[in-house]
Symmetry: C2
Subunit: 337 residues, 2 copies
């Protein structure tokens, strides 16, 4: 036992020396120097330095990230909605009567203009039909296959490549400093779990999303199955985000990242906690490399990623730091030269 | 960088030697040698030895534990129900009309026999009244204060001392081997979170329980608050256990521990996964040191901790291992001599 402790002590000293001997690499190489990058680094240093007034114990190091528009492209239409529209023919096939009923009729017509005009109510019907009725395993296999084959029309690349490299660096940097990183998304929890681990290093238990019920039962061989039900449990958007965080995590995050009015309550809730807290908003102001919408083009966008002028004012007054994609990010995607 | 790697390599070798030099301490000292103890040790060794056919990657190492009757005493009445009954006067105080209405009238009468006869429906009314309407922070403070002062009538000790030491050892042993340990309980998620960390080393995000909705809003100073609503989301018992595991964790556990028919679906779901899985049931057969009920006294108990004869048969046929409190546990509580 004694020998083991001595060995450990020697190792601790040697490892310390080893770390000090190397130069500190930049943890955020895809970020330009500026207020946003500095805020992240100062937050991490302050909350992880023992003896610092800003110190946060490891168990309480929770950081939450919105997904669409914060970790990957959401414009002009959420990827999960594309998935649901693409799934309509498969859902209609065994139930041909559906093909004559709205909104399925419009989706099957392929008329893009008409599809774009579908109401939120129509979308809810499509989501319910395409995201429930199958087992959890079937759903995962279907979504995985789709994500491997479907391509974004602008970049002609799988959606999974439309991830923001600077945000991947933030995730890694936080995790290297003892933070547990969660996705907190208005998207479907089970859908995001299909690729969150591979794309962001975020395991299924750290994905908080819009939740539906499942039903435990048995297949024809008596093997247990969970079937996805069209039973909403929590709409994880707007006020639903802090509600979802309480349900799934039970702690107030110390850092939160979003990009739209759907994230404002999450940022507010995060900043309301004691001690050091970081709240950041990604601003889509780079029409050339990605998209420009919200205040960047002077218009509130009520459909996708609404970064309204009111949200910009609130960010300023409450100390939420805005990340300019144009100015703060050296590069956006891994596939850029 | 090179120097760092060399140092790390040296340390790995030294540490390995250090560990080998010390004698392996028994990870389960409160367990008698027998099939139950052996099954746990073989499961941990098999699933954590690289190259073993039973190996489970660290990310997938999830173990779930029922609480009442598995981690602490549940007899003769669930602690959370005692809490709710104790809270009734405080709930009635600002609403005196309630005092004349059943089931509150019976609870306030203090007539133990009449209280014991309250129906499940009555209990649901009491639970709703005592577990909602306050903010999450108020609820946590109230439950914490109660747990610090209330005492079990048999042992005259705080309920938090009625924890099974052998199960604490299993929790620690699993965690030391890379398992994440979750509580999966029919009890209220927020109630169990109040003490799970201190009692079992299980943080709030690893407590899966019966869930109710919260509502995000503001106090009179405009500070964000979450208020507990009487809105059931998931009854985390019976089939609700695998449903809750999917919702909160998104993975099938590799090990599950329970003690009653409320756990049978969790054990079944756990064993249905690929690869090595462990399912165990605590049998209350020690009337002297704790209680004897279920098949131990030859009677099905439908109210609390129903370990029915049918469950015992199922355990035998499906390879779920029964833990006899009488035979497998050297000691049960920390306060024993």
């Amino acid at each position: 036992m004694n020998r083991h402790i001595v060995t450990l002590a020697i190792c601790t000293v040697l490892l310390g020396a080893g770390v000090r001997a190397g130069a500190q690499p930049d943890p955020l190489p895809s970020w330009n120097d500026g207020a946003a990058k500095q805020a992240i680094i100062e937050f991490v240093k302050g909350t992880t330095t023992e003896g610092s007034q800003k110190f946060v114990p490891p168990a309480e190091r929770i950081a939450t990230f919105d997904r669409d528009g914060t970790l990957w492209v959401e414009h002009p239409i959420y990827t999960q909605v594309v998935y649901c529209l693409d799934r309509v023919p498969a859902v209609v096939k065994p139930k041909p009567a559906l093909a004559k009923v709205e909104p399925f009729k419009t989706v099957l017509s392929g008329n893009r203009e008409a599809i774009a005009k579908l109401s939120m109510n129509d979308l809810v019907k499509i989501l319910a039909a395409t995201l429930s009725g199958m087992t959890v395993d079937e759903f995962t296999a279907e979504a995985k296959a789709w994500l491997e084959s479907a391509k974004d029309p602008r970049w002609k690349r799988p959606y999974t490549e439309l991830t923001y490299v600077p945000m991947l660096e933030v995730l890694k940097y936080l995790r290297a400093n003892g933070y547990r990183t969660y996705i907190v998304t208005g998207g479907g929890q089970d859908f995001v779990r299909v690729y969150a681990d591979r794309m962001y290093g975020i395991p299924p238990e750290q994905v908080v999303g819009t939740m539906g019920g499942t039903k435990y039962g048995y297949d024809k061989d008596g093997h247990p199955i969970l079937t996805k039900e069209p039973k909403p449990l929590l709409n994880d958007d707007n006020a639903g985000k802090p509600e979802g965080i309480h349900l799934m995590i039970g702690r107030q995050p110390h850092a939160a990242f979003g990009n739209s009015t759907g994230d404002r309550q999450m940022l507010e809730y995060t900043k309301a906690g004691d001690g050091e807290r970081l709240a950041m908003l990604v601003l889509h102001d780079d029409a050339k490399r990605e998209y420009a919408y919200g205040p960047a083009r002077g218009l509130p966008d009520t459909r996708v990623g609404a970064f309204t002028p009111a949200l910009a004012d609130e960010a300023k007054s409450k100390g939420w730091i805005v990340i300019s994609m144009k100015d703060d990010w050296k590069r956006i995607f891994a596939f850029e030269e």
